[in-house]
Amino acid sequence: MVMAAWPRHDMIARCRDCAELIPAAPHAIEIRCPACGSPRIFRHAELDSLSIAHIDCDAFYASVEKRDNPDIADRAVIVGGGKRGVVSACCYVARIYGVRSAMPMFKALKACPDAVVIHPDMAKYQRVGRQVRSLMIATTPLVEPLSIDEAFLDLAGTEKLHGGSPSRTLMLLARRIEQEIGITVSIGLSYNKFLAKVASDLDKPRGFSAIGRADAIDFLRTRPVSLIWGVGPALMRRLNADGITTLGQLQTRDERELTGHYGAIGKRLARFARGIDDRSVDPDGPTKSISAETTFDADVSASTALAQQLWPLCEKVAERLKRHKLAGRSVTLKLKTADFRVITRSRSLGAPTQLAETLYQTALPLLEAEAQGRKYRLIGIGAAEFGDLSEADPPDLFDRKSHRVADVERAIDNVRAKLGDDAIMKGRALEPRQRRAR
């Protein structure tokens, strides 16, 4: 049964398809757009005064694959790969069977044996992602990409340019992405980034949601604390142990109390729970970290074998640091145990680095401390807290070879640039077997 509500005069309504304003009908609620006849009508009191949006492509990789192969349009599609790989993306049909992204492949196939499994074609997704982004940038210069398939947009001040409110502009943008690129997006609209991101998740796929200033506090009250970015399992356990499970409970505590109790994150807990987030949409949202990781074909426990896997990742991260002219002041080692527990261990450095050797030597003791016979399925390494390049990898009194390490890496980089990645490598990168053979 459809509950027919009386039209609320304080509500602003727009047609999701043609984006036109729907006049408040005096007697009956319009259930179809008078202009185009579409039933997709969105109503919200603050619809035309909100300007920060989060746009998220729906099941991005899977949608791109379906677009390119209409035969699988109605089937469950899982994008992911490798014997031991995980689900990178799954379409909404696959989700009905319980498949989720980041789920191990074998589990996903158990849940949904008839799924079409497609090996990811990252180059293609990058290409489509760029097309989506260029449509966003054509809408507003203030686009802050979060990943290949999602971004924040700030549309404040674009009313004259686009001849309408941000909500109208966004609905037209969603339509244009569907028509020109052939995939669907979900849009969250609010007055800050936190709420925009939350909103985009409310009505997926092909959704549109808004959270206004007047309804934010009520909306957040019943939501779980895990909604706040940065509340991971550990902090969640602490909050739960202190009897806090909902944002409503955080709304009753002041910022000082929460900071005193939980440290720096307390500020975010207090503010986000009240719908306050003053981060601006930053178009060149700076790279905050560079990392690389790999999942093993079979669990690995020996520290030498783990170190063997670590080295090429260090090289990969170092190569990207050098390419982006960045140098990291902290190094993070990531491990995932056979039972899917993620362990991260960080070390800060005296001076920022962009050398694979330094990343490796810093991570090695961290790895050895964790290896202790436990089995791991994944290893990763990241560099963060970027510092000044001129300060990077300074010569060291006790390690006079340090400048030679830098020279050797530069030489290797040069050879690889000319002859390809496999043209030259450190002995460390060879399997013990290969080492004997050569």
Partner: protein
């Protein structure tokens, strides 16, 4: 436990010990100060498990006993009480509360069991010697700026203190380095120190000790084993664990054959470096020294803000050289040189440079150049 003490007599010792207490603690009792009343005196103890400070002060003790209460809170309360008043501290009930009373104010603070409070002090340490507080200050001030904060090389996170000989004269030597600069300071070896092992005193203990002996004119008794060190002076005893690691062979990085000798007026040089470095960015503080006979040009170049140069007269007769240093590091060293002139002994733009006070042979500094 029940005692009465003048507010001002209590405040100083509380300020001293509470500074050891970390703002965030995973073990609740570490946030507390241990207050123990004995005949005619009161002792206060605070610890972070790696070090503790115990300070004793006279008090009128009505009932002996002990209690632990939140250190920062107790300190803040006593600090805010009016000067010159009397303060009463008393254990309430079964010890679940401690009462603080002064004039018309009264407070009841929650406590934690005394048995939970970790003890670090107490045991006898095999090596003992004493030295004037002023000498200890000189050892610390001239080395601690070079202590590393890098976690990977944890064995550099403190001052290496050891007995050795300098041209057959026994000396007590303090060394600190972060791999980019090194400071080595020595004094005649005190009686009783000759058999001591080389020990690495952690940065936090060094900084707390330095604060406590800031105005002291007394002798400091140092006692140590290969795992702990204790400093006792006046009514205060600071005990710290030592860093369990091997300090690197620092002698091999001290250059001996550097023949390009530069002599500068220390204050004038420091002021010039400071002025020129204003232009360089917050993070990178590189300055370039272009040196030719009689004249040095200090310059800095920042792609963002511009450039700066300053010329100063120097004593120099060797061939021209251009060499870069971190301005912060240069200033850290010149700040510790009390004599009028500093001498730089250089080899080339990529090798360690030796810096000394021309009028004082007890300290030397090594500085790694920067690429400029």
């Amino acid at each position: 436990m029940k005692l009465t003490i003048e507010r001002d007599a209590l405040l100083g010792p509380l300020a001293h010990v509470q500074s050891v207490v970390e703002r965030r603690n995973t073990i609740p009792v570490l946030a507390n100060v241990l207050i123990r009343a004995e005949t005619g005196k009161l002792s206060l103890t605070a610890t972070d498990m790696d070090m503790d400070i115990v300070e004793t002060v006279e008090a009128e003790v009505g009932a002996k006993g002990a209690v632990t209460a939140p250190a920062h809170t107790v300190y803040d309360i006593v600090r805010k009480l009016p000067e010159g008043g009397q303060v009463e501290l008393a254990r309430q009930g079964e010890g679940e509360r401690m009462a603080i009373k002064s004039g018309r104010s009264s407070f009841a603070l929650s406590t934690l069991p005394v048995e939970e409070f970790p003890a670090l002090s107490g045991d006898k340490l095999p090596h003992e010697f004493s030295l004037p507080a002023s000498e200890l200050r000189a050892l610390i001030d001239r080395t601690r700026f070079a202590i590393s904060t890098e976690e990977t090389r944890y064995y550099l996170n403190g001052i290496f203190l050891h007995g050795t000989k300098n041209s057959d004269v026994p000396v007590l030597r303090a060394v600190a380095t972060d791999g980019h600069r090194l400071a080595r300071v020595e004094m005649p070896l005190p009686d009783g120190a000759s058999g001591m092992p080389g020990v690495i005193v952690p940065r936090k203990a060094v900084n707390e000790l330095r604060k406590l002996i800031d105005e002291s004119t007394e002798a400091v008794t140092v006692s140590l084993s290969d795992s702990k060190i204790r400093f006792a002076f006046g009514a205060i005893v600071l005990t710290s664990k030592l860093i369990d690691g091997t300090f690197p062979d620092y002698e091999r990085v001290i250059p001996t054959g550097n023949d390009k000798l530069l002599e500068v007026d220390c204050k004038g040089f420091a002021a010039a470096v400071d002025r020129v470095a204003t232009i360089s960015t917050e993070k990178s503080r590189a300055v370039k020294l272009a040196i030719q006979p009689g004249l040095m040009t200090v310059s800095a170049n920042s792609p963002d803000s511009g450039n700066a140069t300053e010329e100063i007269e120097v004593g120099y007769t060797a061939g021209p050289i251009e060499i870069g240093f971190n301005a912060r590091y240069l200033l850290d060293i010149t700040e510790q040189i009390e004599g009028e002139h500093a001498q730089f002994a250089m080899a080339d733009a990529a090798s360690p440079t030796l810096v000394r006070d021309v009028s004082d042979a007890s300290a030397l500094y090594v500085l790694m150049p920067m690429r400029v």
